[in-house]
Symmetry: C2
Subunit: 196 residues, 2 copies
Amino acid sequence: MMVDERVREFLEKVASSSPTPGGGSVAALAGAIACSLSEMVCNLTIGKKKYADVEQEMKKLLQQCSELREKFVQLVDEDARAFDEVMMAFREKRGIQEALKRAAETPLETASTCVAIAEKTREIAAKGNKNSITDAGVAALMAKTAFYSALLNVRINLKEIGDTAYIRRIDEQIKEMEGQIERLVAETMKIVEEWI
Amino acid sequence: MMVDERVREFLEKVASSSPTPGGGSVAALAGAIACSLSEMVCNLTIGKKKYADVEQEMKKLLQQCSELREKFVQLVDEDARAFDEVMMAFREKRGIQEALKRAAETPLETASTCVAIAEKTREIAAKGNKNSITDAGVAALMAKTAFYSALLNVRINLKEIGDTAYIRRIDEQIKEMEGQIERLVAETMKIVEEWI
C-alpha cells in the first residue's frame, strides 16, 4: 500500500511524471490526516480529570475516527487504481464508460468520508481538550480541502460520461454533501475562533 | 527527519497522545504536498510538443517548486521542535516569551512559503498541461489550507506573548499574506473551473 512508503518517497512519487498518485490520492491522504489530528485531540482528552464527563464519548469518537482513517488509507490506493484503469480502458478502446464511472465514484466516496470525519471533528472540537483546539481546527480545514479536492476529481471524470441520469444523480449527492461539510466546518471553526 | 518515516507511521504519530507532531507539522506537510502536485504538472508538461513554448519556464518552475518542497519538509520538523521548546520553557519557567516567539515564527514561515508555492501553482495552472488541471487545483487548495492551518498555530502562540509591538508587526504580515494567497488561489481555481 502507498502508506507503507516513506513520506519523502510518497512526495517524490506524486511529483514524478507518472500521473498516479495524483490529486485524487492526495485528497484521500488529506482526509486521513484530518482523522489523525482528530484522534490526537481525543487522546489528549481521554484520562484528563477536567474532561471526565466526556471520556466515554471521546473513546467512541477515537474509535470512529480511527476507522475513517483506515478507509481513507484504502482510498489513497483505490483512487490511483481507478485512474490507471481509465487509462487502460482508453488504450484498449473498451469499457471506457464503466472505468470512468468507477473513477468518479472513488473520489465521491472520499468526499462522503470527508463529511463523516468533519462531523466527528466538530464533536471533538466542541467537547474535547481545548489546549488542542487548533489541532481540531486544522483537522476541519484538511477535511474540507480533501472534500473539494475529491470533487475536482469526480467532476473531471463526469465530464466524459454520457449517462445524463447518472450525472444528475451524482450532482444531487454532491450538492447535499457540500451543504453538510460547509456547515460542519463552519461550526467547528466558530468553536476554534472562540479559543484562540 | 519526520519525512523519513513511513506515511502510516507518520499518521500514527500525529494520532497519538503526544502533542507533536500536530497541526503545525501537518500544515507544513500539506504545503509539501502542494509542491509535489505542482511539480507533477510541470513534469507532465515538459517534453510535450504542444507545450514546447513554455518548456523553459516549466523547467524553472519545477526547480522552484522542488526547492519550496524541501523548505516545507524542514518546517515539518522545525514546527515540532519549536513546540517542544515552548513546553520545556514552561516546565523550567524560563525563556517562555522567546520560545513562544519562535513557535509563532515557525508557522509564520510555513505561511509565507504557502504564498510562494501558491504563486508558482497559479503559473503552472495557467501555462501547464491542461490534462492535469485538477492536480493544479488540488495543489492550490492544499496550499491555502496549509496557510490557514499555519495561521492557527501562529495565533495560538501570539496569544501568550506580551510584546504588543511584536504582535502588531506579525498581524500586519499576516494580513498582507492573506490577501496574496486568497487572490492567487482564486485565480488558480478560476483557470481550473474553465477546464472541468
